[in-house]
């Protein structure tokens, strides 16, 4: 069994290595026809002229090609900027489209081979590693050795992994032109699903989904015998694969708008952007349905489901960010900060993001209905600020890149505006709570340690107090790791849900608490 797991690990590392090397393969060359084919009509003439010095040259790497592109393009743009000719500046970023068209490499020739060699081997390796894990052991959750592990306890391996993830997100969001080979590699799959060539987002969506599936299988193995964990893991795997990945692609194949039916504003922050609204309104009945569905989720879905089940119905059963956190992120859940200080920061930051998202959206809608007379294009700048700071930097780079540093729910805990909204409902109007089992707590700390949201669960459990916290995503791991059967996630009457002065039963000397 160990042999299979070791093989899996080696295959995974080969796949990862290939994934890192593939962007550097091949050579890049462009001509005028190619430039014209990949630029907007209004920029075709200018771009063809700007890039003329590059025609006939062959660049041996992505760095060389993008370097030359930058020199030519920037010298044109910078001159205009110096002269404050803002309307003539080309704001569009053509690097990705041109690099993708310009590259000629073994990867573009044989995408399937390279797909197998990189992502394929990594997935196969991951499966070989995860499927036999805990084989031959009796059922039960083993957190053995987690704090002796370099990967899981902020050792060098964790630091390296975190740094790699951060780098990956930076390239993905801001320098995708460097990874066009990787995008070529998944082109055939994209063509099969949507009929369109792949973008970096398709590549990301595919990796994301596969990661959730492979690490979801790890969850099945680790939490054997815990049906709650099994079901909620199966649920996030399903919603990611079907709702976030396949259905939107198939919608495109059917000439409908790309739409993730489970994504909810304000996490889905561009839902009310003018171009989105235009898309919905111009797509007939289906578009209208999407618009209404999205609004219903916000105003009815969130409060009603959260009232009955707590925010867990979304955060640890449906959400894509939650799905990644609960599968890929599970090995890092113990790294969340449990201090009261962290809780204070959390409340300020997450609610600030919520306010920002709401204000931004309100301005956008007002602007839209006033026919852009209200603020003109100012909303675009607001959108790009939010997209950069919150959508990309916070949710992506910090949200996932910081798994090995600050635990798997950094984004969900400190940043997600939808989590803030769900949390407010959960805190003030919900039937959900975690109950503590009388006096059985021994203050061991497993619950707090393994709470990914950094809730000091023990502080409540040892007092015999229900846990009612806006941040709790209801993952159920506190209950799972409790050695004395103290914690239970429950939906029940609102009456007595919050007990401020609990008495620990079992001591008849104490009748009233102080």
């Amino acid at each position: 069994m160990k042999m299979i797991q070791k093989t899996g690990l080696v295959l995974f590392l080969i796949g990862l290595g290939a994934f890192i090397l593939i962007p550097f393969f091949g050579s890049y060359s462009i001509d005028e026809a190619l430039v014209r084919a990949n630029t907007k009509d209004i920029h075709q003439e200018k771009m063809a002229e700007i890039l003329a010095p590059m025609y006939g040259e062959t660049y041996s790497s992505n760095f060389a090609f993008l370097g030359a592109f930058g020199e030519n393009f920037n010298s044109y743009n910078d001159k205009l900027k110096d002269q404050a000719l803002w309307d003539q500046v080309i704001w569009d970023d053509y690097r990705f489209a041109l690099a993708k068209a310009a590259v000629s490499s073994p990867v573009t020739e044989n995408p399937w081979h390279f797909l197998f060699l990189s992502i394929g081997l990594a997935v196969l390796g991951g499966l070989l590693y995860n499927l036999p894990s805990h084989a031959g052991e009796p059922e039960g959750i083993k957190n053995n050795g987690i704090f002796h592990s370099s990967m899981k306890a902020k050792g060098w391996l964790g630091m390296l992994t975190g740094s790699f993830l951060i780098l990956f997100y930076i390239v993905l969001y801001w320098y995708p032109a460097f990874m066009v080979n990787l995008v070529w590699m998944v082109n055939p799959i994209s063509e099969m699903l949507s009929g369109n060539p792949a973008s970096q987002w398709f590549l990301y969506g595919l990796i994301y989904t596969l990661a959730i599936i492979v690490m979801g299988i790890r969850m099945f193995r680790k939490y054997r015998g815990n049906k709650y964990q099994q079901l909620r893991t199966a649920s996030v795997m399903f919603f990611q694969t079907a709702f976030a990945f396949l259905i939107p692609e198939i919608l495109v194949l059917l000439n409908q708008p790309y739409f993730d039916f489970k994504n909810i504003w304000p996490l889905d922050y561009d839902f009310f952007y003018d171009y989105q609204i235009d898309t919905f309104l111009s797509s007939g009945g289906v578009g209208m349905f999407m618009l209404i569905w999205g609004i219903l989720l916000i105003i009815i879905g969130v409060p009603v489901f959260t009232y009955f089940f707590g925010k867990r119905w979304y955060c640890s059963w449906v959400c894509g960010c939650g799905g990644l956190a609960e599968t890929v992120g599970d090995p890092f859940r113990q790294l969340s900060d449990k201090s009261v200080k962290a809780w204070k920061y959390e409340r300020v930051i997450i609610h600030s993001v919520l306010v920002l998202a709401v204000v931004m959206t309100a301005i956008t809608i007002a602007n839209y209905f006033s026919g852009f007379s209200f603020l003109g294009n100012v909303t675009n700048q607001l959108h790009s600020f939010y997209g950069f700071a919150i959508g990309s930097a916070f949710a992506g780079v910090v949200g996932t890149g910081f798994y090995p540093f600050m635990g798997n729910r950094v984004w969900c805990r400190f940043g997600c505006p939808l989590a803030a909204y769900l949390g407010i409902v959960q805190r003030f109007k919900s039937r959900f709570r975690i109950t503590t089992n009388g006096g059985q707590c021994i203050s061991c700390g497993n619950c707090s340690t393994y709470c990914e949201m950094g809730i000091d669960v023990r502080a409540y459990a040892q007092k015999g107090q229900n846990i009612v916290r806006s941040s709790c995503v209801g993952c159920g791991v506190c209950s799972a790791v409790c050695p004395r059967g103290v914690l239970k996630l429950e939906n029940g009457p609102e009456d007595g849900r919050i007990n401020e002065l609990p008495i620990i039963i079992g001591n008849n000397s104490i009748k009233l608490n102080v």
Binding site: K227, G438, R484
Partner: protein
């Protein structure tokens, strides 16, 4: 109380710390000092094993952040107490330093039992109670241990076995009795745990007594010999045959001691203004018919501490334990108990209902008096609600009433197998009773785990 009134607590375990915390809640002015040589900050003793196994770091088993003590003006004094001069109300530390008190609480806990076995002080031989014991065990098992032997089949013994198993050290587990922890568990439960120990490849040897521990020329353990003459080579020996009050520093004083510090039900010793709580206190009379004079459990320590805090704050309280409860985890199997379930009983006076799942890892026992009133329950492998049984036992419910509402008592997570239905069926078969067996909900049928 005046602000220069000084309460000193020896020991920062669960009893001492609970006492300090509640005293601060009740009295804003009194000066509180807690003394410990073991660790600066309060930690959960029951969680030491998890630090060894890498589930947590030591800081994680400290239930309060470090600023908590200063904020609540509970002074923490590090040091080992050498002796107490009760006549001048002074504590003398090993360093010679002195500390005066107005009221003294002795909460010095326990130490591991050693029964004068030959070789019990060799290197590599130890108990597991304190932080220092844990550190010693980490050091002694770092390398070169091909086999470990554990002597004494109780809760600490099985914890130590699990810890060593984490390090992949083969374990031989010597238990003097015919079943694991059979001075507490009835036969079936004891066998259930015994099977599970063996499932984890721990070599459980029942009815095996330690004769001597054999050392090598460097004074390190190299083997143990049992009473039957078997010699088991080993490089580590865990002595886990129970604990005894840690009160040697109080011997030869005017304080009335037996095994523990003798106290009445208000934790008052024979010396005014001196109290003892937790593991080290020994009641003149057991506090209830099903209790022992020395209570060495986490929960009782907590209750002692909370109760005494009221007395120290001027509202004298007597210790009145409620319905007994306890819990443990035997490797992967959780155990809870509510009420009175002794290991054996007189079948003339007591009836027993026992159900065990065919997998042999989930079990439920309920004892009833002859008229069918619930006395207590044991449950293994699934969770039951404390509040439910506290009420049912206190209010002397009919057993069939308890069983019929067992769904409400269930504390397992959602979608877990509804063992309570099987228990209801089994009870109805054996004892009859006019109740309907709970039906699975639709969601449970669709998604829930099967029995």
């Amino acid at each position: 109380m005046s602000s220069n009134h000084h309460v000193v607590i020896i020991g920062n375990g669960i009893a001492g710390i609970t006492c300090a915390r509640h005293l601060r809640k009740l009295d804003d002015r009194v000066k509180i000092t807690v003394i410990s040589g073991e660790s600066t900050y309060f930690f959960s003793r029951t969680a030491l094993m998890y630090v060894y196994m890498g589930h947590m770091k030591f800081e994680h088993i400290q239930p309060y952040e470090n600023w908590f003590w200063e904020k609540n003006r509970i002074e923490l004094k590090e040091g080992w107490v050498n002796n107490v001069d009760f006549s001048t109300k002074n504590i003398e530390f090993k360093t010679g330093e002195k500390l005066a008190y107005d009221e003294l609480v002795i909460a010095s806990g326990s130490k591991s039992n050693k029964f004068e076995w030959p070789g019990q002080d060799l290197k590599g031989v130890q108990g597991l109670y304190s932080k220092q014991d844990l550190e010693l065990m980490e050091e002694s098992t770092k390398e070169g241990v091909q086999r470990a032997v554990i002597v004494g089949g109780g809760l600490i013994g099985i914890e130590m076995a699990e810890m060593l198993a984490y390090k992949k050290i083969p374990v031989t587990f010597l238990v003097r009795e015919i079943g694991f922890w059979d001075n507490v568990l009835p036969k079936e439960e004891s066998q259930l745990v015994g099977r599970h120990i063996r499932e984890h490849h721990i070599d459980l040897k029942l009815e095996t007594e330690l004769q001597e521990i054999i050392g090598d020329s460097e004074g390190k353990v190299k083997a143990v010999r049992t009473k039957s003459g078997e010699e088991i080579p080993c490089q580590f020996v865990g002595l886990t045959a129970g604990v005894t009050p840690n009160i040697d520093f109080l011997r030869n004083s005017e304080l009335d001691l037996n095994r523990g510090v003798k106290v009445d039900l208000s934790f008052q010793t024979n010396i005014p203004n001196v109290y003892a709580i937790g593991d080290c206190a020994e009641f003149h009379q057991p506090p209830a018919s099903d209790r022992r004079p020395i209570e060495q459990v986490w929960y009782t320590g907590r209750m002692h501490g909370e109760t005494l805090a009221h007395t120290l704050a001027g509202k004298k309280l007597q210790y009145q334990p409620g319905i007994w409860f306890n819990s443990a985890k035997f490797l992967d199997i959780e155990y809870q108990t509510y009420g009175t379930v002794p290991p054996t009983w007189d079948s003339e006076k007591t009836q027993s209902f026992y159900w065990e799942h065919s997998g042999g890892k989930v079990a439920f026992r309920m004892l009833m008096d002859i008229s069918g009133i619930i006395l207590g329950v044991n449950n293994f492998g699934f969770r039951l609600r404390h509040e439910f049984f506290d009420k049912a036992i206190q209010e002397k419910w009919e057993a069939s009433k308890v069983i019929s509402s067992l769904e409400k008592a269930n504390f397992d997570p959602e979608f877990f197998a509804p063992y309570y239905i099987e228990i209801q069926k089994a009870f109805k078969d054996q004892f009859g009773g006019d109740f309907t067996i709970t039906k699975k909900s639709f969601i449970q049928k669709l998604f829930g785990a099967r029995v």
